[in-house]
């Protein structure tokens, strides 16, 4: 006998799904969430253990293809120079994300109007601002107010900034000499005790899960509160397809448990929060005679316009010890000096820079990202001169949408439940290549000015697809977008997509802050429109 339909069924317990679940549960909705991973115990995270650097390369790799866990799904990535990264568990990729928390900038929502490329968003920065404040409070953000790269705020970050370390100070002084922007990074990492969670201890292992619970992962920040308000979270639940009725409304989802047994979860409204790879995969898997090209895909754009922020790493080496294996791996400082378009540079749009710690001795001793390897007697000099002596600028280039960059379904590869895997087809655009080349040169100048005597560059890092965006874009024109301005599918009035798939353009900043603000806005809309919401009979 089928269950009583949920008011809202959410697919995915990562950041955006958790935000929607908490908001709707607090508003009295009957919320059910299906998550293909499980609950993790942060006592098991490897960051405070001797074999951290070993586990970080396999069990705690950010690539599901390297981890190869049963709860992961494989991603066919033969046709992309950048590998998508994610985590499948309660908390989703917030378990392994770095925690850097910049917002998209006002110009990011108007790139067609002001730069003549791509498309404008149907919403803007100022419309999102109240949601940024609320999500900053809910996640727990540390930061120094007043960054002149952003419009003035009416509300400061709830916690003071984290330390920027010796490396951050060196680069901040250099940027002062150069007259370039820098600012202590906003991070979703506690600098004080906050909301029952402990402060950061600077261990720098944020991407292997935070042992302290200081980093805002939604298994800590949102799910306990949502569950306390009545939300039901079903783990080890792999959704195979979203079902629809003859009227074209979503009726729920068919899912498989860990033993392969099939279930159906009925719902009045379905919310996809499965990231910009998993969400289009599910929409394409949900094709039916009424939706032959996939659910919500009358525009033909489901899975298309994938953006991943091509990423370069510029590493500076300093004579003096900086103890740069410590510090929040979110970021120490950022620079938005070259973020906005200057056509004299030969490309449009720009990139954000984030200065990060540099890792432990295993990372230092093995061949570098740039391919350098030192063995023999000189190995010892190499490790002594590199370990704790580095500062890394990570450069996130804005990725403009291109329909050729897309997610499709594999006809040959499937996950452990036999569900077709996603295939990623992605080429870095010439504009992004020119952009990264320019930014690599400027970041090199930054580190040299800071005193670096050696610079190593990784011009396009393969395992850098942290930011998955754009594969179900929002827009006002149903022929040219998948979702409306409230994240609702144009084609299916009781289907929402609240993850990074909704992005129209990518911005050039880490997107989680913006993703969750948009998700909260969508959830508010669901609450406000609950009596007008079409639901299946």
């Amino acid at each position: 006998m089928p269950n009583e339909p949920a008011d809202v069924l959410i697919i995915g317990a990562g950041p955006s799904g958790a935000v929607v679940a908490k908001r709707l549960a607090e508003a009295g909705f009957k919320v059910v969430c299906l998550e293909q991973g499980g609950w993790l115990d942060r006592a098991d995270y490897p960051g405070n253990k001797l074999d951290w650097e070993l586990q970080a390369r396999r069990q705690w790799a950010t690539s599901p293809n390297i981890r190869g866990l049963a709860v992961d799904y494989p991603i066919v990535e033969d046709d992309t120079p950048v590998s998508p990264l994610m985590y499948n568990a309660v908390g989703g990729s917030s378990i392994i994300f770095a925690g850097a928390w910049p917002r998209a900038l006002p110009s990011d929502f108007r790139v067609r109007s002001i730069d003549g490329v791509a498309d404008d968003w149907p919403i803007d920065y100022f419309e999102l601002l109240p949601y940024f404040y609320r999500t900053d409070r809910d996640f727990g953000i540390s930061g120094l107010p007043g960054d002149p790269a952003y419009p003035p705020d009416d509300e400061d970050a709830p916690m003071p900034p984290l330390p920027i370390g010796s490396a951050g100070m060196k680069v901040a002084r250099a940027h002062t000499k150069l007259g370039w922007h820098w600012w202590p990074e906003f991070n979703s990492i506690n600098s004080t005790s906050y909301d029952g969670r402990r402060p950061c201890v600077q261990r720098s292992t944020c991407q292997s899960g935070c042992n302290e619970g200081a980093k805002a992962s939604t298994d800590l920040t949102h799910w306990p509160k949502a569950i306390a308000r009545g939300a039901t979270l079903i783990t080890d639940a792999r959704v195979r397809r979203i079902e629809t009725n003859p009227k074209g409304l979503a009726t729920g989802a068919t899912w498989l448990d860990a033993d392969g047994k099939e279930h159906f979860e009925p719902a009045k409204v379905v919310v996809l929060a499965a990231n910009a790879i998993g969400t289009p995969r599910l929409l394409l898997l949900s094709a039916s005679p009424a939706h032959p090209d996939g659910l919500g895909n009358s525009s033909g754009l489901v899975g298309k316009r994938l953006m991943m922020h091509p990423f370069a790493n510029v590493a500076g080496l300093f004579e003096e010890p900086l103890m740069s294996w410590q510090g929040q791996f979110g970021d120490l400082i950022e620079s938005l000096e070259f973020y906005e378009t200057d056509e004299k540079r030969g490309f449009v749009r720009g990139a954000r820079w984030g200065l990060a710690p540099t890792g432990g001795p295993v990372n230092t001793a093995l061949p570098s990202r740039a391919g350098e390897q030192i063995w023999g007697p000189e190995h010892h000099l190499h490790v002594r001169s590199h370990l704790g002596h580095g500062a890394n600028w990570g450069l996130f280039a804005e990725d403009l949408p291109d329909e050729a960059n897309r997610v499709t379904l594999s006809s040959t590869v499937a996950d452990s439940s036999g569900v077709p895997a996603p295939e990623v087809h992605y080429t870095m655009a010439d504009n992004a290549r020119r952009m990264l080349d320019f930014h690599i040169e400027r970041a090199t100048e930054s580190l040299v000015e800071a005193g670096a005597f050696k610079i190593d560059v990784d011009r396009l890092m393969r395992y850098s697809g942290w930011h998955l965006l754009g594969t179900a874009r929002m827009g006002d024109d149903s022929a040219a977008s998948v979702l409306d301005r409230w994240n609702r599918a144009h084609d299916v009035p009781n289907l929402y997509v609240v993850d990074g798939s909704c992005f129209v353009t990518s911005s050039g900043v880490n997107p989680t802050s913006t993703i969750v603000a948009i998700a909260l806005r969508a959830a508010d809309h669901m609450v406000e429109s609950r009596f007008e919401q079409q639901v299946p009979a």
Binding site: E53, D154, I164
Partner: protein
């Protein structure tokens, strides 16, 4: 009932372990006051590595197979065409070496420590005026209404001014939208 844990290095026979030691000594020899990896990465350390990463055993066996001959440099040259096996061998040597207590002491690496964040202290960059230098250049965000750099009335040009704004907001004394 007593259970017996499988020895993770049982999959490497004595000859393979000997070859491992010779490769380790070539890659990380004793020099500059540091011991060699062959000396440090003994059975205990190799067990530690393989307990953490049992997936390394198969590529390690392949990298240490006798068919690649007795000469260590020739072995490494051959493994250049087997990057997965070579990477596993390098990782086992490096991880075994740099998780050893004595090696860590010699390189001055105490491990990833828990360090208290003293967020109540004034950050040194404020004392040095580094934030004031950023604020003195004025707002730099691009106003989407004009496409040009934003103009903000009364934007704070020092951190003291910005801090005063926070204080006024906290005390309920700030008015309206500061955007032009």
């Amino acid at each position: 009932m007593k259970t017996t844990e499988v020895d993770p290095i049982a999959g490497l026979d004595a000859a393979a372990r000997e070859r491992f030691t010779r490769v380790a000594d070539l890659l990380i020899p004793a020099a500059h006051g540091m011991p060699s990896a062959g000396e440090i990465v003994n059975e205990d350390r190799l067990q530690f590595v393989l307990r953490s990463r049992p997936d390394l055993l198969v590529p390690l066996q392949a990298a240490l197979r006798p068919e690649l001959g007795a000469d260590v440099e020739s072995r490494l040259a051959a493994l250049a065409t087997e990057p997965a096996n070579l990477s596993a061998l390098q990782l086992a040597i490096v991880a075994g070496y740099y998780t050893d207590r004595r090696v860590r002491e010699l390189i001055g690496y105490p491990g990833q420590m828990a360090i208290e964040v003293k967020s109540w202290l004034v950050p040194p960059y404020l004392d040095e005026g580094l934030i004031d230098a950023v604020l003195a250049r004025g707002p730099m965000w691009r106003d989407p209404a004009t496409g040009r750099r934003a103009i903000v009335r009364d934007a704070p040009r020092t951190y003291a001014e910005r801090f005063l704004e926070t204080k006024q907001k906290t005390e309920g004394g700030r008015d309206g939208d500061a955007r032009a």
